[in-house]
Every structure is written in structure tokens, then in C-alpha cells.
């Protein structure tokens, strides 16, 4: 599924985008790249793959000599100071599907990078052409910013250029000027099933004690809330508030209890306790699960109370 260099080049040709390509040995840094294509008249780019504390990702593509201050950028995005850091190499591979040293605006072409935000240096526009890696470090292609735009538009991206060196004040009366670049959708991790947020799934989605449930829950919740916040009409029924589902709740309890039960009964434990195994296992289950299940029950109670409270605030008193 991941785009290859050849597929990208083919696509560019299809779109009749003018570019020149230069093969060279694999390079991992701008300096190394400069050795091969630095004297050809175009501008080199440096590309950063960043992430913020809420696991949202950004590709920042700039001229090699543009000064990019992560602290300033973080503030301009509304992430506070120190909200941005370099993303891990694994994220590079998982989300952008490119190896180290190969980040470029083209890297957002893959589905997995759908929610990665792209910031482009306005300095590109002043250059005749700029060099980028086309999803592989053993080649650089040069093209005009205008042509880059054509490509980005073709993949549904809105090319917007930013003065990356600017340092406008961010404060009470000056909202972060780049706040629009922060991805608003839930981040989709490529190895998880992407569920469309339905009414039921925003409820007790703690169905399986597994990591994917937790992350899917995280992914689903923000959209669920966005729904809730936007619709606040007075007399329509609001089905989108999370429901306390007794069935899901019980399934979760049973799943945990049976998982623990199975782990407690083994050849060794049978040998060790023989006739007493039942009592022993029962005790262990109580000991291990007590707090966990109480927590689950509290969540269930709070959810049910909230449903009732919500209904109560929209209750129409009996007409006398």
C-alpha cells in the first residue's frame, strides 16, 4: 500500500509536473545531500517530522538555511512551550512510511499520513526550484514550489506556506497564529481498525481488555465529544451522550474474571493445591480483581448517573 519512489515519480509525470531527478548514494543529512546536488542552483530543503504531546504529527519542510525554532513553533501552534519534539523513528516508518533521513512534503501521500499536518516554508516560493527526497534517500528531485502545490492539491492537501522564522507574540490577545495547522481529527494509528464513531461505540467501549480497545476508545472519544458540543438544541433528543450499557459492562467483568481464572489454573497449580484449588483460585480472583472491578463499576455508575442528570436537565414538568 505504501507509495514507492517509482510510483511517486510516475504520478508526478502523470500530473505533468515538471521536475528534474538526480540519483546519488544514500544520504541521511542535508550536508551529505549538498555534496551531490548542492551546486545545481536550486535550494536544499530540510525536513522535520515532529510530534506533540497528544500524539499528533507534523511535517515541517523548510529551506536548509531557514532557522526553525521548535519552541517558537510550538507556541505558534498553540501547544505551549516545549509542546513539540522530534518524532520517534518508528513513527516515521509507521506513519510516513519512509526511512530515516527521507522526510519530505511528498511523505504525506500515504493514507497513514492523512492526519499529519504539513507546514511549508514560504521561502520555497521565492526559489526557482527546491530539492526534496522523493520517498527515498538515494535520489533528490528538484521542482518549483508551484509544481509542488499541484501535487499536493492532487492528493487533497491544501498547500499553505508559512513564515517559519517569524516569532509573533502569543498571549491573551494574540492567539497562536498557526493554530489552524494542528490536526483536528483523531490520530489514526495505522495498525488499528478505524471505526466510524457511531452512537453506540461512544458508550462503554471497554469491551476487550486489550490495547487496541484503549486506543480506539481514545480515537473515538474526541469525535464523539465534538458531536456533543456542536449540537445543543433545546428540545431534540440527544442520543450522542455515552450510554451506560449493562451488557458491555458485564462482558468486561466476565472477560477479566475468566482471563484470570484461566491463568490461575495450570498443571503446576493443580499439582500444588489439588482439592483446594477451587478455594485458592477463588481467593486469588477476589484479591486481584476487587479494585479493578470496583473501578469499572464506578465508571458504570458515573455514566448512568450522567445520563439521568442530563435527562433531568431537559425534563418537562407535568402540565397541571
Amino acid at each position: 500500500m505504501a507509495y514507492s519512489k517509482d510510483q511517486l515519480l510516475a504520478r508526478l509525470k502523470e500530473l505533468q509536473i515538471e521536475f528534474s531527478q538526480y540519483e546519488h548514494p544514500v544520504v541521511l543529512t542535508v550536508e551529505a545531500q549538498a555534496k551531490y546536488v548542492g551546486n545545481l542552483g536550486g535550494a536544499l530543503s530540510k525536513n522535520l517530522f515532529l510530534k506533540d504531546k497528544k500524539h499528533r504529527y507534523y511535517v515541517v519542510s523548510a529551506l536548509a538555511d531557514t532557522k526553525v525554532d521548535l519552541k517558537v513553533l510550538s507556541q505558534r501552534l498553540g501547544l505551549g512551550k516545549g509542546g513539540l519534539r522530534m518524532a520517534a523513528e518508528e513513527a516515521l516508518v509507521e506513519i510516513l512510511k519512509v526511512p530515516l533521513g527521507c522526510v519530505a512534503p511528498f511523505a504525506v501521500v500515504n493514507e497513514s499520513a492523512r492526519h499529519v499536518s504539513l507546514l511549508l516554508d514560504q521561502g520555497f516560493k521565492a526559489q526557482e526550484y527546491c530539492f526534496f527526497h522523493p520517498l527515498s534517500n538515494d535520489m533528490s528531485i528538484s521542482l518549483n514550489a508551484h509544481c509542488l502545490d499541484k501535487f499536493l492539491k492532487s492528493i487533497g492537501r491544501d498547500p499553505s506556506y508559512v513564515d517559519l522564522e517569524a516569532n509573533p507574540p502569543v498571549g491573551k490577545d494574540q492567539p497562536p497564529d498557526l493554530a489552524a495547522f494542528v490536526p483536528s481529527d483523531a490520530p489514526i494509528l495505522s495498525d488499528l481498525p478505524v471505526k466510524a464513531p457511531t452512537q453506540d461505540s461512544t458508550g462503554k467501549h471497554v469491551s476487550a481488555a486489550s490495547n487496541s480497545a484503549a486506543v480506539a476508545a481514545k480515537a473515538i472519544k474526541p469525535s464523539g465529544n465534538a458531536q456533543n458540543v456542536k449540537e445543543k438544541p433545546v428540545n431534540t433528543v440527544q442520543p450522542s451522550i455515552p450510554a451506560a450499557d449493562a451488557g458491555n459492562f458485564v462482558e468486561e467483568l466476565l472477560d477479566r474474571a475468566s482471563a484470570l481464572l484461566l491463568s490461575e489454573i495450570s498443571e503446576d497449580s493443580i499439582k500444588q493445591h489439588s482439592g483446594q484449588l477451587g478455594a485458592e483460585v477463588a481467593n486469588n480472583i477476589k484479591k486481584c480483581l476487587r479494585e479493578d472491578l470496583k473501578n469499572l463499576a464506578t465508571i458504570f455508575k458515573n455514566t448512568a448517573y450522567t445520563e439521568g442528570f442530563y435527562a433531568g436537565t431537559r425534563y418537562q414538568p407535568k402540565r397541571l
Binding site: A214, K221, I241, N302, Y305, F309
Partner: protein
């Protein structure tokens, strides 16, 4: 007469502990004995822990067993009254200065939840959005937004909605609450508040008049929708020890306006990953484990940034063992590893050099990951409507059940 400490900001050799700054002497460790002495509170000894176990008929919380909550004021009075059938209510809070909560922030809330469950008492949680607006120069809207976001993480700690009232200052100050604020304010001179909090002539008047806001939730009459007619109800405040100045002031004022002094139960600071020289900072991402950290982040942070007491080479380590005094993974396990026996075993083996730093870190990563995972799942179940419900000014008819 209780010692009411006057803070002298000029003494730089001493450690500094107040609501806005925590730093040890000469970049060393915080001396808690000195702190208890200076502040004038009491040590929480084992007899208290045993008594709590007896009164609540359940094992005491890991933070009590390990001395994380280590100091108190008048906790014995609370327990005496409880034994006589007189309940109390809990009061704790958070200054919502950032969206990024770390494990250190959760500690008072985890403990408070235990207290709520064990003693079956109601709880009020104050979100001091006004304080952060003033001290951190946030906009009013931003601090209110952060308050709501933080409320979600707080709710995720597992509080019972039928016994918990969460409020933000911007929303709630007024009415009976404000009347108490004025009563308190009348009893504290400008000089006194400068002495306690170190305000200067350059500080704006918002800061100077803030302390009563944090004081009055200690008085039941501040919450007429909850405690009307129960003016005698006592209050217990679980907090980190740096909040002590607010409540020293409150305890000084309380009898003068006819209220019980609130009792306090205070915790140590959760050390930063890089070592025990202060408390975790929300602005340095590698000093702390955040509730939004992924399993990978936790593994990375513990492996790369946790300060250890292990020796430089394996041979030296096997010979001399680890320095448990400064080892951060051991300290963190002290906070979060439930099993007393396992912790003892690890300490013995690591201290003797039989266990390596890597193994201790691995266990810590497991423990922390489980906590953060559990928190995240609970957080995912918190909707905006749930926050609204927790924050609604409503009666709590079953709050003592």
C-alpha cells in the same frame, strides 16, 4: 499555639517550599524532617496507619503503608470523631495550569479516592482556574478550558459522582462561598499574607487577595447546597506538603470565625525522573511520566532518563550493590508497586547487587504502563456531559452512604 511560619525569602541557603516553588538546599534532597519542624505539622506514624485499617476494615492504601503521605495536622481528631460516628468531608484541588498531567499530579487524587471509598465520605474538588489565570498569565477562557480538561483526568481517577462536587472558581465563587472569603480576608492582615506567601510591592492585588479562595472550601457553610445545617462538619484536606501555607493561614483564622480548623494529611513530592532535587515540572517532558504517554514513551523515559543508583559496571554492581537512597526506579516502585513483599525482595536483591538496574527498570515500566493504561481507559469514558454533571450545583443525598 500553633507555629505560624513566616517565610523569609532572603534565606537562600535553606530549602524553599511554597505553593509556587519547591527546591532543595544546594540542589540536594528535600529534608522532610526539617520541613515538618519548620511548618509545625506532625509525622504520620505507624499507629495512624493501623488505626485507619481498623476503622475502615480494609487494607490501608499503599501511600499510607509506604509513608508517601507522611505528615498531618489534627488527623487524630478526625479519626476520634469518626469513631464516635461523626463523619467528615474531603477537600482537595488542582491548579489547572497545563493540559499535560503527570503521575505526580495524580497522587493526591489517587489517595483521596481511597479515602472517599474507605471512609464513605463526600468530597469537594476545587479547580483554581483564577489562580492560574493570575499567576501564569493565562486568559480567562484558557484557564477555564484547562480546568475542564483537567477535570476529566481527575474524574478518571475514579471518584463517585454521587458523592463528589467539582467546581471551578470562576464558576462558583459568589454567594455563601464569597461571604466566607470576606470573613477570612478580614482576619488576615496584608503583612501576614506577605509573610506567609512572600508577596512584594510589585505583585498585583489579584495575587494578594487570592488566598481566601483556597481557604474557604474548608468550611462546610461554603457549600449550602451540600452541607446546609451541618456547620459542625469537619474537613480533611489531602494535599502535597507545599500547600501547607494556605492551610496554616486557614487554621489560624477558623476559630476566630467560629469554624472547625480543617485537618490536613500531607504527601511527599513525587521525584522527577532525573533525580530527587525537586518536584516534577509540567514544562519538562522528560522529567515526568505523563498520563498521555504511550507504552513506548514510558519505556523510553524510564530507560533513558531515570536516574539510578546502580554502579557503572556490572562487576562493580554485583560487588557493591545499588545505592537505594538515590535510585529513582526504586523510589517510583515505592509509590506504585502494590505488593509489599515483592518490593522488599527487589530492594534487597538490588541493594545487594544480585538484581541489575535493567531488571528493576523493566518492572517499573510494567507497573507504570498498567497505571497509565488504566487511567487512559477511564479517561476515555469521561464525556463532557459527565464533567457537567460532576460540576453541577446539585444536592448529593447519598454522600455519606
Amino acid at each position: 499555639m500553633e507555629k505560624v511560619e513566616d517565610q523569609n525569602p532572603q534565606q537562600e541557603e535553606d530549602q524553599v517550599v511554597n505553593p509556587w516553588e519547591v527546591s532543595a538546599k544546594d540542589g540536594g534532597k528535600i529534608d522532610y524532617d526539617k520541613l515538618i519542624d519548620k511548618f509545625g505539622c506532625q509525622r504520620l506514624d505507624q499507629s495512624f496507619v493501623d488505626r485507619v485499617q481498623r476503622l475502615t476494615s480494609r487494607p490501608p492504601h499503599v501511600f499510607l503503608r509506604r509513608g508517601v503521605f507522611f505528615a498531618h495536622r489534627d488527623f487524630n481528631d478526625i479519626l476520634d470523631a469518626y469513631e464516635r460516628g461523626q463523619k467528615f468531608y474531603l477537600y482537595t484541588g488542582r491548579g489547572p495550569s497545563s493540559e499535560a498531567l503527570h503521575l505526580g499530579h495524580l497522587i493526591p487524587f489517587m489517595f483521596t479516592k481511597y479515602l472517599q471509598d474507605a471512609f464513605k465520605v463526600p468530597l469537594v474538588i476545587q479547580l483554581t482556574d483564577d489562580e492560574k489565570c493570575m499567576w501564569k498569565n493565562l486568559s480567562v477562557e484558557e484557564s477555564q478550558r484547562l480546568a475542564r480538561e483537567n477535570a476529566k483526568d481527575i474524574i478518571a481517577c475514579g471518584f463517585d459522582i454521587s458523592k463528589t462536587f467539582i467546581f471551578s472558581d470562576f464558576d462558583y465563587v459568589g454567594g455563601a462561598f464569597y461571604k466566607n472569603m470576606v470573613k477570612v480576608a478580614k482576619c488576615v492582615t496584608y503583612n501576614k499574607v506577605v509573610g506567609i506567601f512572600g508577596f512584594t510591592g510589585e505583585d498585583h492585588i489579584g495575587k494578594v487577595s487570592f488566598p481566601p479562595v483556597q481557604a474557604v472550601p474548608s468550611f462546610p457553610s461554603s457549600f449550602p447546597h451540600l452541607f446546609s445545617g451541618k456547620d459542625d462538619l469537619r474537613c480533611l484536606i489531602p494535599c502535597a506538603i507545599d500547600q501547607d501555607p494556605y492551610f496554616r493561614m486557614t487554621r489560624d483564622v477558623a476559630p476566630r470565625i467560629g469554624y472547625h480548623k480543617p485537618a490536613l494529611i500531607e504527601s511527599l513530592f513525587f521525584p522527577a525522573l532525573q533525580g530527587e532535587t525537586g518536584k516534577m515540572s509540567a514544562s519538562d517532558p522528560n522529567s515526568a511520566i505523563y498520563v498521555t504517554d504511550s507504552a513506548k514513551d514510558i519505556k523510553y523515559k524510564v530507560n533513558k532518563h531515570a536516574f539510578t543508583g546502580g554502579q557503572e559496571t556490572i562487576e562493580k554492581h554485583r560487588q557493591y550493590g545499588a545505592n537505594l537512597e538515590v535510585d529513582i526506579p526504586i523510589k517510583y516502585l515505592n509509590f506504585f508497586l502494590e505488593d509489599d513483599a515483592e518490593l522488599e525482595h527487589i530492594k534487597k536483591a538490588y541493594g545487594a547487587g544480585r538484581m541489575l538496574t535493567g531488571e528493576v527498570k523493566k518492572r517499573l515500566i510494567e507497573v507504570l504502563t498498567e497505571i497509565v493504561e488504566r487511567h487512559r481507559r477511564a479517561r476515555a469514558a469521561v464525556s463532557d456531559e459527565m464533567v457537567d454533571a460532576f460540576m453541577a450545583v446539585r444536592p448529593l443525598p447519598n454522600m455519606f452512604d
